[in-house]
Symmetry: C3
Subunit: 341 residues, 3 copies
């Protein structure tokens, strides 16, 4: 890529302050920027860098008021982060795409594959599979029997999709994701061991979902494990059988949800959170990292702790937890008389 500040300003609907003709050829961080670099300033914490960055052009907010001289040319826009994200996207799309069906692959004759699909080498596509338009099935992917996949999906190398899974449009699955493994269902028997409970349901992943590397979503015992539209899961997440996650809920890495729990829409769930089975989490719930949620939560709840309760109450209780040694030593100046048995 190579653009002038003037061209960028037009593309981003921004206003240039400085040299309209200066050229940039790469994107960079403001703290590391060099000549011909294009950066941005969105987080006020980074403001000091704008006075010493070597980047040639910096995208700033229309509200930004410099209080020192700046050597970079500025482009003022309404939302600098969003503008920069557009440029990242633009840059990312310049990578050459593969097309067509590489060899060797194993595609069952009963499978149907949409127009302009890319199927990488060593991919395996089972019986009665349906794949939509512009699908990008990278090398070494496994797609089991009767799987249905929508349009414009990105399925990265080594994803495993068990039979009967249903995937919508614009879904992204990162490397090593497993969809549709058996739910963890075992019934104790008379010999102190367990009988497996067959898991005959499936996994449904709706439009716009993205799932991070090596995450695992189990198939339902009966019915479906469901990720609703726009759900975003980070890496190494575990979703058990019959869980349902509401629209646009976001989960950070290494979190897990146990069987049959329903999570609402627009929740934000931190990393390494655990949520027990058979409960209901409302909409717009926020759960702090490493929390363990043991009971249902109403809409808008904000919680922390293991077991989790109100976030602010947890923070306060933890402050006192830290002070316990100091406190208790005070009360036990004469432990023989004041300590309860």
């Amino acid at each position: 890529m190579q653009f002038t500040a003037a061209q960028l300003a037009e593309f981003l609907d921004g206003i240039v302050f400085g040299d309209e003709g200066v050229q940039v050829d790469h994107l960079c961080k403001i703290e590391e920027g060099g000549p011909r670099g294009l950066s941005f300033l969105a987080n006020p914490q980074y403001t000091p860098y704008i006075y010493r960055t070597q980047a040639s052009v910096v995208i700033v907010s229309k509200d930004f008021q410099p209080d020192q001289p700046i050597s970079a040319t500025l482009i003022a826009v309404d939302d600098p982060y969003q503008s920069f994200a557009r440029l990242l996207e633009h840059y990312d799309q310049t990578r050459p795409n593969r097309t067509g069906i590489e060899q060797p692959v194993s595609i069952d004759p009963s499978a149907s594959i949409g127009e302009d699909a890319y199927i990488g080498a060593f991919a395996y596509i089972g019986r009665n599979v349906q794949i939509g338009r512009n699908a990008r099935i990278h090398p070494q992917v496994f797609i089991g029997d009767n799987v249905r996949i929508g349009d414009e999906v990105q399925i990265y190398p080594g994803v495993r999709i068990y039979h009967d899974t249903v995937i919508g449009n614009h879904v992204t699955l990162h490397a090593g994701v497993v969809l549709g493994g058996d739910g963890f269902g075992f019934a104790p028997n008379q010999t102190d061991s367990y009988n497996k409970v067959a898991q005959i349901g499936n996994v449904v992943v709706e439009d716009g979902v993205e799932i991070g590397a090596n995450s695992t979503i189990d198939r339902a015992t009966l019915g479906s494990t469901i990720l609703r539209k726009g759900v975003k899961l980070d890496n190494l997440i575990q979703i058990a059988h019959n869980v349902e996650i509401g629209e646009n809920t976001v989960m950070a890495a290494q979190s897990g949800v146990a069987g049959s729990t329903k999570i609402g829409a627009n929740c934000m769930i931190g990393g390494q959170v655990g949520i027990v089975g058979h409960i209901t989490i409302g909409n717009r719930v926020r759960i702090a990292a490493q929390s363990g949620v043991g009971q249902s939560l109403p809409d808008g709840a904000v919680v922390q702790g293991s077991p989790a309760f109100d976030f602010k109450a947890y923070q306060r209780a933890y402050v006192y937890f830290r002070k316990l040694p100091q406190w208790m030593r005070g009360f036990t100046a004469n432990p023989d008389t004041s300590t309860p048995k």
Copy 2:
């Protein structure tokens, strides 16, 4: 599938109440049941649904006493959940199985493969590998040199089995499982960095074990990391080198066990539990989710917390933890005089 209530009752050794001739053609949840659906009632919490379910047939306990009219035909059995599990199993087995050896595969000429095995495309089978009867080695599996595998195993796509691993009969390994990666062994050296300690032991997985997707079981430094008969591991579990897990112990997702720890039989270990290395956990121990076990535990212990201690004591302590702010504010009404330094 298509059965009458009478046929099902005979199969399940149950008694029909209602229309013996009514037909069902699918299994369903009682709360979502529709015409021609077959459901069950085991958990009393779901009893209200039986009075309004649209399922045609519901399997119930012989002890069940309705207190309102029910439109579904009932089949009364001794254990409705187990009866339903038998039907799930039956249904699951109607899926068409693949057979034979697909192409391309890479099988070393020195490998020996039992009767009626299925080997999926892109599987890799190393030197001196032995695989038993009726094995199902799905596509894209890797089996290293000298691995021995028993009869009737299910090894799902993308499983990686390093050299020298020994696997029993009736074992199920879900997609992405890694058996036999190097234990995490490094010895600090004089230059403030680490020398790798070679890991020359192996992994032994006994009969009837099931391991969930993307779990990792490391090979022993010397000797074996061992999962005893009937162990059930959920997804994304980490078992370090030289660990031994006793018969029929069950671990929920995202738990981890550090090196050389021995866990007894018939334990139940919750999700996201961590267990330190070099300790011994007794038989029938129960560990609450997210606990961190830092020392050996006797038979029958029930623990929670990080570090973990007696479950009930943890629950009680946590109740008081939540009350700390309220309490301490009470004691510090006049903080200048009552607060210990």
Copy 3:
């Protein structure tokens, strides 16, 4: 292998006590040793075993003073663990190596592969990839476009390396590792859903790094996610975009680091630790297992808890946490009057 005690003593620069001609043919644990076995004693906890082991030869410290008769031949060395590690290494290297390029593989004509490389079947190597000397690329590995890999690497089956990743010399990646998946970057939009932020940076893995099975290292949004020389990561670890981990830092299994955090050199991070984004951890920091680090830490800090604070202070506070029920019951003998509202 087959050696006499005298040969081993020469190899290890040790002194024989006992029969110089006794032969050994395998390595074993001291507590399980049998005839012709070679074991070692480093941890004093295992001293009692030396008086009853059946191993033919035991490597001991030059400082070791037996207080009972010992049937095994002893070899006294400066550091028995390191001596034994050398033998493990030696033994491990006797395993026959594969060489050459197996078929089928998919290697782009523009890729360059160094001398004496091994490329296993079903591997996929993209455009402009450069791989160094003596690389061992095991079966079913995926290497995306423009990846650069150094000399003497071990890349185990099913590793996925996205485009633009840079890997140094003597790096080991275990099965199922994913390098370079997209960082978890989403910007909320006006419709209450999220726009993906393209991740155009890469992952850099320096010399001597080892990464455990199924761990995931995300690519940077801009710039690089970096693992410095000698970093050792255990299994199922998550490293988010733009994280940097300093030289020789070690992380145990199932830990995670959120975006843009910088970790210093020579840190020791326990299992299941979570570290928030955008903070700085100093050098030689130690973090106890299951801790949650929520703020920057200076050099040499030792912390525990969620959120984490000073390790000893945590241990003390936790002792009092366990005593809370006993304490508070004492103070509330008459709860109606003494409990604050």
